[in-house]
């Protein structure tokens, strides 16, 4: 990690508990750096690891990871050169074409992503996009429902990492494909909300190639003392901008070569 821990163990536990409360009971809190202005990226990951420990202790199952801040625009906005990562549990998964409740979310937004399912364990540092492709069982289209627990979606990097990269829910679906049958760099994506196109892009928007984002994720995991186990579900980062959703909204994400993923939102 390019930055050092400044928080005490006691602070980390306290902040982990605070974020868990905000995530579980769906309320907005001030960004953590209001109280700890010197919080670093390493501190953010320490709080995120504490959050993960707390969820797993309650019986949640770790199913994978996600990369965030993967577009050039978002990285420039946050002043960073690497993406951030967050963990995914079974409790965040929602089936394709389901009704997703927003009553346990603060201010949800949806993004289109290419997701990878791994057949081999990957261990950083030094993981490359080629390593990722060789270790991938299949790819599939996904929609991530992000939900910052910070008031007004206003945050800094350390706070958003502590909040598990705004992870909230995810929906995988569409059509599973082998990576060798696709050009993962040029897949077109269209998101429709209530039948109208609201955002579009192509997969190169994610660090030039989605596998680059997964490689960086594996290298960040190594810094946290973790690997990416076989069987993991990994989301590579938003191709499109995040679109706010509310009860009554219906979302369809259409991907070139990968089919579509749909869902609707209810109270």
């Amino acid at each position: 990690m390019s930055s050092n821990l400044t928080l005490s163990r006691e602070d980390i536990v306290r902040l982990g508990e605070r974020v868990e409360g905000a995530q579980t009971r769906a309320y907005a809190i001030p960004k953590l750096t209001d109280e700890y202005p010197d919080m670093t990226i390493a501190d953010g990951y320490a709080v995120q690891s504490e959050l993960r420990r707390r969820f797993i202790a309650k019986g949640h199952k770790l199913v994978g990871w996600k990369a965030g801040l993967t577009s050039k625009a978002k990285m420039q906005q946050m002043g960073v050169s690497v993406p951030s990562i967050g963990f995914l549990t079974d409790r965040m998964a929602r089936p394709e074409n389901s009704a997703i409740s927003t009553s346990d979310l603060v201010h949800p937004r949806v993004e289109c992503e290419v997701a990878f399912v791994m057949k081999k364990t990957l261990q950083g540092p030094g993981c490359t996009a080629a390593d990722v492709l060789a270790a991938t069982d299949y790819v599939l289209p996904a929609v991530e429902i992000i939900d910052s627990r910070f008031s007004g979606f206003k945050f800094d990097l350390a706070s958003v990492i502590a909040d598990n990269g705004s992870s909230a829910r995810f929906v995988g679906g569409g059509r599973a494909r082998y990576v060798e049958d696709l050009d993962l760099r040029t897949l077109g994506v269209v998101m429709e909300k209530n039948g109208e196109i609201v955002t579009m892009g192509a997969s190169a928007a994610v660090l030039g190639h989605p596998a680059e984002a997964i490689a960086m994720l594996v290298n960040i995991l190594a810094e946290l003392g973790e690997n990416l186990p076989a069987g993991s579900f990994v989301m590579s980062g938003g191709i499109t901008e995040a679109i706010p959703v509310k009860p009554g909204d219906s979302i369809v994400a259409r991907f070139q070569e990968l089919g579509s993923v749909s869902m609707r939102f209810i109270e």
């Binding site: 050039k72 050009d183 760099r185 040029t186 897949l187 077109g188 994506v189 269209v190 196109i197 579009m200 892009g201 192509a202 997969s203 190169a204 928007a205 030039g208 191709i239 259409r254 991907f255 070139q256 070569e257």
Partner: protein
């Protein structure tokens, strides 16, 4: 608008094109110009180019995306006439000295194998009549000062046609998802923007169908062999001496273009 004025403005735009010198917006001088008037001015402008020895090689469709339509305040596309003097081959370097204030757009081009005669043309007819599609760059240019255009200005100015270059990879539209094919645009080796076919009227084939129907109403021929630039799938890219652009259409291929020299404005 009377014929004298139509001719006067068509001639003025032609002379601005020849001299590489922009003129003030027509609408600022003639607030009553209709879109129909603007197409008549365009016909005069193009007729002058044909008199000077060029031939018609195709059509371009403009104002196909929602952001551009919002900017121009219109809710339909427009079109212009492609002439032989606008054609560059892939691998050529585009001389910016021939242009006034160029910007590049990445698009999908269609080449027809059958005539398309509207009205009544649908996207399905377009796919049937298409010989092949190609990735391409259109270098738009405006003869209107600082691109201060409203819809009437750009239509009169031949839909802001500059020059264009077609890629070499020919694709069969039956083997390509025209709506969902991704568009990746790189400038000098770095990612510049991404897009997708659906940015153009939901699918580029819808834009071509619109064109066939509009030309049918106006009695303008739309013939086998013509090239159609179907509308921008990227952000507008400003270009200067030494720039190199590559666009790649997912499932199809790439088009590469280089620029040299200095544009007039």
């Amino acid at each position: 608008m009377d014929n004298n004025k139509i001719e006067q403005y068509g001639d003025e735009l032609y002379e601005a094109f020849v001299a590489r010198r922009a003129v003030p917006p027509l609408l600022s001088r003639e607030p009553e110009i209709t879109i129909e008037d603007a197409y008549r001015i365009q016909q005069r402008f193009v007729a002058r180019r044909l008199e000077a020895g060029e031939t018609v090689v195709g059509k371009k469709i403009g104002a196909t995306s929602k952001p551009v339509q919002d900017f121009l305040g219109v809710y339909q596309p427009d079109f212009g006439i492609l002439t032989s003097g606008m054609v560059y081959q892939e691998g050529d370097t585009i001389d910016l000295g021939e242009l006034i204030q160029p910007k590049a757009e990445a698009e999908l081009a269609f080449v027809l194998k059958h005539d398309l005669k509207g009205p009544g043309i649908t996207a399905m007819d377009v796919i049937r009549a298409t010989d092949y599609v190609l990735p391409c760059f259109e270098i738009v240019d405006s003869r209107i000062t600082d691109w201060q255009i409203k819809i009437q200005d750009t239509v009169a100015d031949n839909a802001s046609c500059g020059v264009y270059v077609l890629g070499k990879t020919k694709g069969d539209p039956r083997k390509l998802d025209l709506s969902l094919a991704g568009m990746v645009l790189e400038k000098n080796g770095e990612l510049f923007s991404t897009g997708v076919g659906a940015a153009v009227q939901g699918s580029p084939a819808n834009a071509v169908a619109w064109l066939a129907n509009t030309l049918g109403e106006l009695g303008i021929p739309f013939k086998a062999g013509e090239v159609i630039l179907s509308g921008s799938q990227s952000a507008l890219v400003p270009v200067v001496d030494g720039d190199e652009l590559v666009c790649t259409v997912g499932g199809l291929g790439s088009c590469r273009v280089k620029f040299s020299g200095r544009s007039a404005a």
